[in-house]
């Protein structure tokens, strides 16, 4: 007879796996067996907790003690002290970055306190490779309820009433989209899950697929029932091997269990799911390009209408939603539209998962109610800016989005307020930038991305982004001219108005929003040939200030012999010889060398 008294959860998400969680797991197995504890303590492999930066993560239940950056060598100590003697291994606990306080308990960490984890509720808490674990926490109940106790129309109405909007970027009302496909004429219909996730910096869809794949499958099956489809495709980029592996396992388990396949819950409803691996081009996330790619053609967008709801995969009515959108569905059916609609703002309901990256203390995934302010996300959850630097801007919505300055930090984050300030929810990538980031360079970075990802089908996007990129590059290199800003603005407007698909239509957004909020930075580059953030390498120059005591240390380290001066007198740098290596500045004991 056995009784399991503790669960040791080891994160096996992509982030933690790459920092060694597999080795930790192997060591844990070994150590527990040696100690004779393997019958009373269970090891559980989980998906991502969203705190990958602190990985490998190990969490011990029932106490919920949260160990970070655990290495193989730490395992004997955890087993001996914690699992055997019940003493927490203090040195492996997480420390709050500001207060430096050690926090033993998962739920007390600031990063998690302000979150509202609904979509991610099981991520990191269940073993994604075991359908039983999903069922234990209520999995497939919503599907059962939908197909046995609701009509397809009821399901669509419930989703409509919940106010759920697409999480793939545009924020189109999900229930409305479902009702279009439901009403469309066709003997065969499809459900497609968009798991392309092409935005640089975004990884929430991957984490949901890796950590809770059944939830997405359940959402898709409910959609299939609602619109009258019997087949679904998940389009997932090939760069996500772990997500693909877990999806495959989940699909075969769901089929074996009978919650996917023919005659689900004896209701006569049948639904099958296939996986299509994409090659990972940004444009393949665009819905019409994605459908072409599933059909085996080149992933290029086509004009809409007709919309996929009427003519999608192989010309049949097709409903396409994002991973996170589907992941919201089971809870809406289980807990009801009213429960769902109580979270969020008037026009943006529910929660949104954001991927926090950049110069922020906690990078990772955070799920928050819509309407929370950007300041709360960055400071309360994200722990503020790294190394005590000053906040400068936050880029939201990836290459389709825009930058928000300090003045807009109290803006409630929802679809419409972001659009109103020239940014966009996008898929939820948040890149935080500090005072050392140059906004012209940021605009150049995103445009460089969209320019190289443009499929080339239409001229405004193919040629226009190239020309804009040339101008931006010129500005960052100190070759900007009067009139460049206005030229960028005109080109941006034209491309937005004439490009065929969303890629081209939104590509100029990062440029427009940085001009709008940081015009002075553009002007400094163009008129004064100066990069105020000190980031554009062609523009920074080193100068020696009057703090110089003439010690000559800088002169000794300069590899270019660019520094001259007599002892005990102020030295100077010859800008033509200077290589901008920064060695002198690092050496000067009097902080007399400035960069800018």
């Amino acid at each position: 007879m056995e009784h399991i008294r503790a669960h040791v959860l080891i994160c096996a998400g992509t982030g933690c796996a790459s920092s060694g969680s597999k080795r930790v797991e192997a060591a844990m197995k070994r150590e527990l067996a040696e100690r004779g504890l393997d019958k009373e303590i269970k090891i559980v492999e989980t998906g991502c907790h969203g705190f990958c930066e602190m990985g490998p993560l190990v969490i011990v239940y029932p106490e919920g003690v949260f160990y970070v950056r655990v290495q193989e060598e730490d395992v004997p100590e955890i087993v001996e002290n914690h699992l055997y003697k019940g003493r927490i291994v203090e040195r492996l606990l997480y420390k709050e970055p500001v207060t430096l306080e050690k926090v033993p308990n998962y739920s007390d960490i600031d990063f998690y306190k302000k979150q509202n984890r609904q979509v991610l509720i099981n991520c990191g808490r269940i073993d994604p490779e075991k359908i039983e674990e999903y069922i234990a926490v209520g999995g497939y109940q919503a599907l059962g309820k939908a197909v046995t106790a609701m009509t397809s129309e009821d399901v669509v109405e419930e989703v409509k009433k919940s106010g759920l909007r697409g999480r793939g970027g545009g924020g189109f009302p999900t229930g409305l989209k479902w009702s279009f496909t439901r009403k469309a004429q066709g003997d065969k219909k499809y459900v497609v899950c968009n798991a392309d996730e092409g935005d640089p910096g975004a990884f929430m869809d991957r984490s949901v697929l890796e950590g809770d794949p059944h939830r997405v499958i359940e959402g898709m099956a409910i959609c299939g029932y609602a619109i009258g489809a019997d087949e679904g495709y998940i389009y997932v980029r090939a760069e996500y091997p772990l997500a693909i592996k877990r999806l495959k396992i989940a699909i075969s388990q769901a089929e074996a269990m009978g919650v996917l396949g023919d005659n689900i819950f004896s209701s006569g409803f049948q639904f099958h799911i296939k996986i299509k691996e994409g090659a990972g081009a940004f444009v393949c996330g665009e819905e019409t390009a994605l459908l072409a790619s599933i059909e085996g053609k080149r992933g290029m967008p086509r004009p809409r209408p007709p919309f996929p709801a009427n003519a999608g995969l192989w010309g049949k009515p097709t409903n396409i939603n994002n991973v996170e959108t589907f992941a919201n569905v089971p809870q809406i059916i289980n807990q009801g539209a009213d429960w769902y609609a109580a979270i969020g703002t008037e026009k943006s309901k529910g929660t949104k998962v954001f991927a926090l990256t950049g110069k922020i203390n906690h990078t990772g995934l955070a799920e928050v109610p819509m309407g929370i302010t950007m300041r709360e996300i960055i400071y309360d959850i994200g722990g503020g800016i790294q190394n005590g630097k000053k906040f400068k801007a936050v880029q939201i919505g990836g290459p389709s989005g825009g930058c928000l300055p300090e003045e807009l930090l109290d803006l409630p984050v929802d679809y419409d307020s972001l659009i109103s300030v020239g940014a966009m929810m996008g898929s939820g990538g948040l890149v935080v930038m500090d005072e050392t980031t140059c906004m012209v360079d940021v605009a150049r970075f995103f445009l460089n991305f969209t320019q190289s990802e443009s499929c080339g089908k239409c001229t405004p996007c193919r040629e226009g982004t190239k020309r804009m990129l040339e101008i931006l590059t010129r500005i960052t290199e100190g070759q900007g001219q009067e009139g460049d800003i206005e030229l960028l603005e005109t080109m941006a407007k034209n491309i937005k108005a004439t490009a065929l698909c969303g890629l081209g239509q939104t590509a100029p957004n990062p440029v427009l929003s940085t001009i709008k909020h940081f015009r002075d930075e553009y002007e400094a580059h163009i008129r004064e040939k100066r990069c105020p953030a000190g980031a554009c390498s062609k523009l920074v120059g080193y100068t020696i200030t009057s703090n110089c005591k003439g010690c000559g240390l800088c002169k000794k380290v300069c590899p270019a012999e660019a520094i001259s001066g007599t002892v005990k007198e102020q030295h100077q740098i010859d800008p033509d010889k200077c290589l901008k290596c920064g060695a002198c500045m690092a050496k000067c004991p009097f902080k007399a060398i400035s960069k800018g």
């Binding site: 106490e63 919920g64 055997y84």
Partner: protein, 121 residues
């Protein structure tokens, strides 16, 4: 699995696989300090696990704690039922375990003669 009732039944069966991670039930805490272990805390722990398994008790968690400064009373075993005081039993042996579990953990009757401490949490 054919019907929604099957799903419910399966759910109940497999719930113990994850319950420990969402637990709210009774806690049994065993003192595993140096002298606790010397006095036989490990054997008491094994007896507790056996007894829970035998009785198929759900929603009971077993954890350990270090030295609490009453070494001469080892083995120390605490029971905390939700919303009730933390009761510390002293000089617990494996033989006493079935009684503590039957009386206190299951039926809520404190075994006063074994109690060495009470704390409200």
């Amino acid at each position: 699995m054919k019907t929604i009732e099957d799903l419910k039944r399966l759910r109940e069966q497999v719930q113990s696989d994850t319950r420990l991670r969402y637990t709210t039930g009774t806690k049994i805490i065993i003192g595993m300090g140096t002298c606790g272990i010397a006095a036989g805390a490990r054997e008491v722990m094994s007896a507790v696990l056996d007894e829970i398994a035998k009785r198929h008790l759900q929603d009971v968690t077993v954890t350990q704690t270090g030295c609490i400064g009453m070494c001469e009373k080892e083995v120390l075993l605490d029971v905390v039922r939700p919303g009730e005081d933390r009761i510390t039993y002293g000089k617990v042996t494996p033989e006493l375990v079935p009684q503590i579990i039957a009386e206190h953990v299951v039926n809520g009757r404190i075994l006063e003669e074994l109690v060495v401490g009470k704390f409200s949490e």
